[in-house]
């Protein structure tokens, strides 16, 4: 400290001055210098010591204050690090355990917690990135300017843009179809201005463009986060074109189905109505009975009308009740033994409410009705029909009887006619024979005394009687043809023509030149056709007999008429006038008188009758005095 020097005034003053200077240094914050203190321990020394102590104290104080500042600054550094999300630093702790230590401890805890949280966050972020990367949905993040910040692989896949192509591009250029761009921008602006959005945090369907220009339908969900540099929007997009298509298809299918169901329902309704109509609007009674008790389940209006039972009465009865006693057993037996199926089961007897018994024709069909085995029965009341039928049968029988009666009457008449003709022939013949005989006897017995005139007159009697005999014979022959039954055989026409000519030759000398063609075989009644040729050839010979060169031709034409062969007998005789043609084939009709040519006028009538019996035709051509040709047709073999 201060050297012990003689104190002098001046020394004192110097000391005082030193004390003052020291004080002024202290005041200026200079605590380094000290005042010398002598061993005298005078007053000045005491003061100097005091000032030094003050200096010391001030110096300590300043030192302490500096430490604090360092500690505080250190705390501030840590905090600053925290603010830049660096939570790695920790505050140093002093052993003072003062307020700053407490603060540091708090900061450290905070740092640790934040560090943990951040690490968690980072982990979460990594997870999130992974999720985003592997998400099946496109995840697109845009900032509030609409610039794409994140573009995940699903987005690449869905939209065709690579991440490098997509990021930092405005979203609307890449994804939003022209027609929606304004809407998008307006929506974004509205949200930024007023915090209102129609689409945020909702799932909506939006068309979106792909790189190749095609559009897909996306299901879009947008979330937003507010960050320090503004809002970020996270969009999740899912391509639902296929789903939509499928959905559309399903919807369409559903619609179709619904429509079909509707249609079907309508149809069913309609058909039900139709069936109801069919069931109800018919004049035929119909009902449904169950197959256990035969109880009426439903009956139509016609049944009600026809049977006289009300619907209620019907429904309280069974099918047995509408049958007369006598038929009930039959009905039950029938059903026991024969479960009829879809068919007409014939005619039955039913009884109406008023007791009338009717005949009904039943058609049945087994059906399910209200879940029960039932039978639909359609009733056709045939009572009247049967009656009419019976009446018809009766009339028919009567008619048949009448026909039989008439036939037998006719047969009787025929028989009578026959008997008549025979008795006529018998009874007419006898007197003729007598006339003939007695004239003959007269001639024989008395010719010697009878004058020639008497003999001539007797001769006339004989001639007339003979002629009458011929008439009777021809008439009989003709009438016999009326009932003749054909007895067709195959024979040679030339054969019978020869026979006929031979027979005729025996009766008269034949002058005529007869030309006979090859006529061939026919199937006909031999005897009758012989008669035809007999009459025709006889005629031809007779009517040509006066000619100087009589000619008769018997032939057959080459051409057929109606599939039949045409035969003819031709002569060059007297012929006939065609104006009398109509009379020619009539019975007892003659175109010549007896003096000119003998005959009874039955021959051609017989020819016509025989040919008609053979389904043939007869006709003739004639020229007066030049000849006649008679034709007839017969079936081919």
């Amino acid at each position: 400290m201060a050297n012990k020097t003689p104190v002098t005034a001046r020394t004192k003053t110097k000391r005082i001055q030193a004390i003052l200077s020291k004080l002024s240094s202290l005041a200026e914050g200079d605590y380094e210098s000290y005042l010398p203190v002598s061993d005298d321990l005078d007053g000045l020394d005491a003061i100097a010591a005091g000032v030094n102590a003050l200096g010391e104290s001030l110096k300590a104080k300043e030192k302490a204050s500096n430490e604090q500042e360092v500690r505080i600054n250190k705390l501030i550094d840590v905090l600053l690090k925290y603010t830049i999300m660096d939570f790695s630093m920790r505050c140093e702790m002093s052993d003072r355990e003062d307020e700053l230590d407490a603060l540091a401890a708090g900061l450290n805890t905070l740092g640790e917690e934040l560090d943990y949280a951040i690490r968690q966050l980072k982990q979460g972020e990594a997870k999130l990135s992974k999720i985003i990367e592997h998400a099946p949905d496109a995840v697109v993040v845009i900032n509030q300017e609409g610039i794409i910040k994140t573009w995940n692989p699903a987005a690449e896949k869905i939209f065709g843009w690579q991440e490098t192509e997509a990021t930092e591009k405005p979203l609307h250029e890449l994804l939003i179809p022209d027609r929606y761009r304004r809407q998008h921008q307006e929506g974004l602006k509205r949200f930024l201005d007023m915090g209102v959005s129609k689409i945020l945090d909702k799932t909506i369907e939006m068309p979106a463009c792909r790189k190749d220009g095609t559009e897909i339908l996306s299901e879009l969900t947008i979330s937003h986060v507010k960050q320090k540099d503004g809002y970020m929007f996270i969009a999740f997009l899912r391509d639902i074109s296929e789903r939509k298509k499928a959905e559309d298809e399903i919807r369409q299918l559903n619609n179709t189905l619904e429509r079909r169901v509707e249609e079907r329902t309508l149809e069913l309704l309609e058909s039900e109505q139709k069936y109801k109509l069919l069931f109800d609007c018919t004049p035929l009674p119909k009902w449904i009975i169950d197959l256990e008790e035969y109880r009426f389940q439903v009956v139509n209006e016609a049944a009600v009308k026809h049977y006289g039972y009300s619907r209620e009465e019907f429904l309280s009865m069974t099918a047995v009740d509408i049958r007369p006693e006598s038929e009930r057993e039959k009905f039950l037996n029938f059903n026991r033994t024969f479960p009829a199926q879809d068919q007409n089961i014939g005619i039955w007897k039913h009884q109406k409410k008023d007791g009338t018994i009717i005949d009904v024709e039943l058609s049945v069909q087994n059906v399910l009705y209200n879940g029960k085995k039932c039978r639909l029965v359609v009733v056709n009341d045939v009572t009247e029909k049967l009656k009419a039928h019976q009446e018809l049968n009766r009339i028919n029988e009567k008619l048949e009887q009448m026909v039989e009666q008439r036939t037998s009457q006719l047969q009787n008449a025929n028989r009578e006619m026959e008997a008549f003709t025979y008795s006529v022939s018998h009874d007419l013949r006898a007197p003729l024979r007598a006339i003939n005989g007695y004239a003959q006897m007269l001639t024989e017995d008395w010719n010697t005394i009878l004058p020639p005139e008497g003999l001539r007159q007797l001769n006339s009697i004989t001639e007339n009687a003979t002629r009458m005999g011929q008439l009777i014979d021809d008439l009989l022959r003709y009438s016999r043809l009326g009932k003749a039954e054909l007895n067709p055989t195959s024979f040679d026409l030339n054969g019978i023509v020869e026979e006929v000519i031979n027979e005729l030759k025996q009766a008269v000398a034949i002058r005529a030149k007869i030309k006979i063609q090859e006529l061939g075989n026919v199937i006909a009644d031999h005897i009758l056709i012989r008669q035809v040729y007999m009459n025709l050839v006889d005629n031809a010979l007779k009517y040509s007999s006066r000619k100087s060169e009589p000619q008769v031709e018997i032939g057959v034409n080459d051409h057929l008429i109606h599939g039949k062969r045409v035969y003819y007998v031709k002569d060059n005789g007297v012929g006939f006038d065609m104006k009398y043609y109509d009379k020619m084939f009539g019975v007892f009709q003659r175109l010549h008188n007896q003096e000119e040519f003998e005959g009874t006028g039955v021959g051609l009538a017989i020819v016509k009758r025989i040919i008609t019996l053979h389904d043939g035709q007869v006709w003739a051509n004639g020229v007066l005095n030049e000849g006649a040709t008679f034709f007839f047709t017969l079936k081919l073999n």
């Binding site: 018998h426 006898a430 003979t466």
Partner: protein
């Protein structure tokens, strides 16, 4: 009407038509076949004569005729009935019967043959033919034919 009982009848003519009968007899006479001819005018008479009944009650029936010429259409009993009766009776069953008639009717012919007629002749209308036919019948049955053995 008991005619000569002792004389055996050769020809029994049953004919209702007197003219036919006369002509028949004339034809037979020309052949001298009428010595023992009896003419009866209907079937009933014929039956009475043959069996000795009615007007012929008690007639001694020594011999049957050599031939009966029988007309068919007669009043009372007709020829067929007479023929039937003749064939039914043992006494006359074998007697020759020739039907001489105007009827050419099939049923008549059939019935006569069924009853056992010996011959069926249709009277010809022509007088000459008639005479010829009757003559032939007479000659045949009286001269040519051997009558059945008469046991009576």
């Amino acid at each position: 009407m008991m005619e000569n009982e002792s004389i055996a009848v050769d020809i029994l003519l049953v004919e209702d038509n007197p003219y036919d009968a006369e002509m028949t007899i004339r034809a037979l006479r020309k052949k001298n076949l009428t010595n023992s001819l009896i003419h009866l005018k209907n079937g009933a008479e014929a039956i009475d004569f043959l069996f000795g009944t009615g007007d012929y009650e008690g007639r001694k029936i020594s011999k049957n005729p050599k031939v009966i010429l029988l007309d068919l259409k007669m009043p009372k009993l007709d020829g067929i009935q007479v023929l039937s009766a003749i064939r039914k009776d043992e006494r006359t069953r074998e007697t020759p019967v020739v039907v001489l008639t105007s009827s050419r009717e099939d049923p008549d012919i059939r019935e006569c043959y069924r009853l056992g007629v010996n011959s069926y002749i249709v009277k010809p209308v022509d007088f000459d033919k008639f005479i010829e036919a009757v003559s032939s019948i007479g000659l045949y049955w009286l001269l040519l034919n051997q009558p059945p053995v008469d046991d009576r």
